[in-house]
């Protein structure tokens, strides 16, 4: 995914479709209210892209429903009119998951931000999808509870978006991802029917469709309510920051800590460029060393004291130059702010950059970082690394100058080579940002045609006309009922009900 610093110019991949007929616009407006059915070209611009700003497509209409009933109303109109539907939360996604398709109904869910129920004794919460991730923890924090998944964008990203992308965050090493914290869902299917999956009572005798919908990137339906697992806050958290002469020693420290039986709450690595950027953005006084780790352990206080002392000792043995322990909560928060702002901070040291998201087995970190550095030398480009070391989720940022089309082309090529490096080491093309529009072509490198066809069965069960988010995730379009081989038009394609995006 590509980030641009303000003022940068860049060729955009922008597509247009003819405007929606006025009678359809009126029907949508009748469901959501006049001000919440948006189709003026100047207003549609806002919705042309998500966090992956280099791809832009104008939607046919933007609707902003406020309730499950309004979502049903909109889905039914789209169903009858044969229009594709793309859901959008806060638009912070980094893979183009909420990128419109030409002429689509873009369904913005940011008005659905009610917290519907909180039950501490049964440790769950029921919320609408537009609720902001951090607001969940803020709501229950005073009672000593929190919601574990913490993507770096948590102050703006929505729970609905987290569900679509199965969002992670620094602390998912110990606590798991969104899917481990979603107990149930209410969703609107392609024909406008409403279905409840899972719920606060666990393990109902049914297929785990909740687990399938989480991370399905908006391809299966529109989620309108989410039942979240909430956790009692741990008694203590201990944080330390350690610097290393190179990423190799830092990687060895991570391996040694984990091999000792410690399950850190988070363990993050940054290299020199990322440290420089974080310093520029937040004022943390980190030394500009080759590598740094930021680590949290949490839990029962005595256990934390024990594990943090052990981890610090192991970091020293692995060759740490310096260990810093924050003296108070404010200093700890500043350290984490430095880490969480690192992506955006790179904009201070580079005109443009691509954010990559790949995963490798954590024992391969040192080797893969060397390979990425070698790629950088070969392409003549700088790479900043800031990532979740504990679970091997790399975020190499490839720096370039977008005014030079050749450099931009090289950056894109190199970013793809990084993904291939992850795959060669037995990893994945995405750990938390999703496939979306950006990485669909790479799915065929990670999965066989049979794997992808099997995943498509799930989609065909939910959305046979492929109305929801067409063109995302899968590398080559295939309609439900297609057999591999020669192309034949599908009946729904001939009738204009579906098309190959």
């Amino acid at each position: 995914m590509k980030q641009e610093t303000p003022g940068a110019t860049q060729a955009e991949h922008k597509q247009q479709a003819p405007p929606l007929p006025a009678d359809l616009v009126r029907r949508f407006a009748a469901v959501v209210g006049e001000g919440y059915a948006i189709c003026k070209p100047e207003q549609l611009h806002t919705y042309e892209s998500d966090g992956l700003a280099s791809f832009r497509v104008t939607p046919g209409i933007v609707v902003l429903p406020e309730s499950t009933e309004e979502v049903v109303g909109c889905v039914k109109i789209a169903h009858e009119a044969g229009l594709p539907i793309v859901a959008r939360g806060s638009g912070t996604g980094l893979s183009g998951g909420a990128l419109p398709v030409p002429g689509c109904v873009l369904m913005g869910l940011s008005r659905m931000r009610k917290i519907l129920e909180v039950d501490y004794d049964n440790a769950f919460m029921r919320v609408q999808p537009g609720v902001i991730n951090l607001d969940v923890s803020r709501h229950i924090g005073p009672q000593g509870w929190y919601y574990a998944p913490d993507p770096s964008s948590q102050s703006v990203c929505s729970i609905g978006g987290n569900v679509a992308e199965n969002s992670g965050g620094a602390h998912c090493l110990k606590y798991g991802f969104t899917v481990n914290h979603v107990l149930g869902l209410r969703m609107v299917l392609q024909d406008g029917s409403v279905v409840d999956l899972g719920g606060a009572v666990l393990d109902r005798p049914e297929y785990d469709l909740t687990g399938v919908v989480v991370g399905s990137e908006g391809l299966l339906g529109i989620v309108t309510e989410v039942v979240l697992r909430i956790l009692r806050k741990p008694e203590a958290t201990r944080t330390f920051f350690a610097t290393f002469p190179s990423t190799t020693e830092a990687g060895n420290a991570v391996s040694a800590i984990i091999a000792s039986g410690i399950v850190p709450a988070a363990i993050e690595m940054m290299d020199t460029l990322a440290i420089v950027a974080a310093k520029a953005a937040t004022g943390v006084d980190w030394p500009e060393v080759a590598a740094a780790l930021l680590m949290d352990v949490d839990g029962v206080a005595d256990e934390c004291e024990h594990t943090s002392a052990n981890a610090i000792e192991l970091a020293r043995k692995a060759g740490a130059l310096e260990i810093r322990v924050p003296k108070d909560t404010a200093e700890r928060e500043l350290m984490w702010k430095g880490r969480k702002s690192a992506f955006a901070a790179v904009g201070r040291i580079a005109r443009n950059y691509l954010v990559q998201d790949g995963v490798i087995p954590r024992s391969e970190i040192a080797v893969v970082l060397q390979e990425i550095a070698a790629l950088g030398q070969r392409y003549g480009l700088q790479v900043a690394n800031v990532f979740h070391a504990g679970d091997g989720n790399l975020h190499p940022l490839v720096l370039f100058d977008g005014r030079d089309p050749e450099e931009e082309r090289k950056a894109e090529e190199m970013s793809g080579e990084i993904l291939r490096t992850c795959l060669r080491h037995g990893g994945s093309i995405t750990g938390e940002h999703g496939v979306g529009a950006d990485k669909a072509p790479y799915m065929a490198e990670m999965f066989t045609a049979q794997d992808l066809e099997t995943m498509q069965l799930v989609r065909c069960a939910f959305d046979p006309a492929q109305r929801f988010n067409p063109g995302k995730m899968f590398p080559s379009p295939r309609l439900c009922g297609d057999r591999p081989g020669l192309y034949r038009p599908h009946p729904s394609e001939l009738s204009g009900e579906a098309w190959r995006a």
Binding site: V179, L202, E206, Y207, D208, G299, V300, E303, M455
Partner: protein
């Protein structure tokens, strides 16, 4: 009926591709629901290899016929374990554990098999081999086929291999018992004190409960937690219930008392996980009338109750569930009549 014991996943693939008629995949038989006879039973007994184990990555891939006890033995050599403790580990296979979503008291801290599985390879009804997830602890590429397989009872595809995240074996363990404890109050106390038990179970026969808590981890943390519950006695962890019928049920954790009342007439030993709101009732024989009455009461509370093969009223999402089944098994040959759909 033919019973075959393939020696490789390729053989399973060939069997299904050539059309084995209606089939049932058989592991250790510890959680197999009854159902109509099938044309071919495929035993996983010889698919018993640990395919890949990288201790440094805390990730292991096994063939479906590996028993839980065998896997735990292999992991223990490196001080690791799969944080799953369903009954009969000597017999229960990993394929069966995934298919039946089997679990034990460790669920309190580590969740169920869906929270530990990270990858799967399957053979579909027509012999198509496919995989989902991966062998890294974090991946969001594609639909989550591993989770779809959890609790699917072999009705969607043959689970050929599964990849799991594993955890370190704790350095120290202590079990405490609250006799005659109210599970809801014990959970409140645990949370108020910010304790983190890895396993918790309430045992009941009749109306009262004995609540067991297990603390695990580094000795310093275990000692500290034990010290905060000075009035509780240290005991051994209770054994798993013996019995021929194992009823499963679920309800909100705060409904513990209503659950005990509803299940009383079954005259079974009740195991209740007070933080998960899930339980088992084990007895020698089941009285149909008492079972139906208990199910009605639990259903009225928003809960559920099943015996293998008797799933109770279908879920609210039954049409969608059937649609998934139809896509994966259009001819309905996989484990017919063994699950809700």
């Amino acid at each position: 009926m033919a019973r075959v014991t393939p020696g490789s996943i390729d053989e399973v693939e060939a069997l299904l591709a050539q059309g084995a008629g209606s089939v049932l995949f058989v592991g250790g038989g510890t959680a197999m629901p009854p159902g109509p006879p099938v044309e071919t039973e495929i035993s996983t007994a010889r698919l018993d290899r640990v395919v890949e184990y990288t201790p440094a990555d805390q990730v292991v891939t096994v063939e479906c016929g590996v028993t839980l006890a065998h896997l735990q033995g292999e992991l223990a050599k490196n001080g690791q374990r799969l944080a799953l403790d369903p009954p009969q580990p000597e017999k229960a296979t990993l394929g069966g554990i995934v298919a039946a979503n089997s679990f034990g008291p460790l669920r309190t801290r580590y969740g169920s098999v869906r929270d530990l599985i990270i990858g799967v390879s399957v053979v579909r009804a027509d012999g198509t081999r496919a995989k989902g997830g991966g062998k890294v602890v974090k991946t969001v590429a594609g639909f989550d086929l591993p989770k779809l397989m959890c609790g699917s009872y072999g009705t969607l595809a043959f689970i050929a291999t599964a990849t799991f995240r594993v955890h370190p074996v704790p350095e120290s363990t202590v079990t405490l018992r609250a006799r005659g404890g109210n599970p809801v109050e014990v959970v409140r106390r645990v949370r108020a004190l910010q304790l983190e038990p890895t396993a918790m179970i309430a045992l009941g026969e009749g109306t009262g409960w004995d609540v067991y808590l297990r603390f695990e981890g580094f000795a310093a943390g275990v000692r500290a937690q034990r010290g905060k519950l000075p009035e509780l006695e240290e005991v051994d962890w209770p054994g798993t219930a013996e019995g021929t019928v194992r009823i499963r049920f679920g309800a909100l954790p705060t409904h513990a008392a209503q659950v005990a009342r509803a299940l009383g007439p079954l005259r079974a030993r009740i195991e209740w996980l007070p933080m998960a709101g899930l339980g088992f009732a084990t007895c020698a024989a089941v009285d149909r009338g008492a079972l139906e009455a208990a199910r009605r009461e639990l259903t009225a509370l928003g809960g559920w109750l099943t015996v293998p093969g008797d799933w109770g009223p279908g879920p609210a999402s039954i049409a969608l569930q059937r649609s998934v089944k139809k896509q994966f098994d259009p001819r309905g040959v996989l484990a017919p009549g063994r699950f809700v759909v």
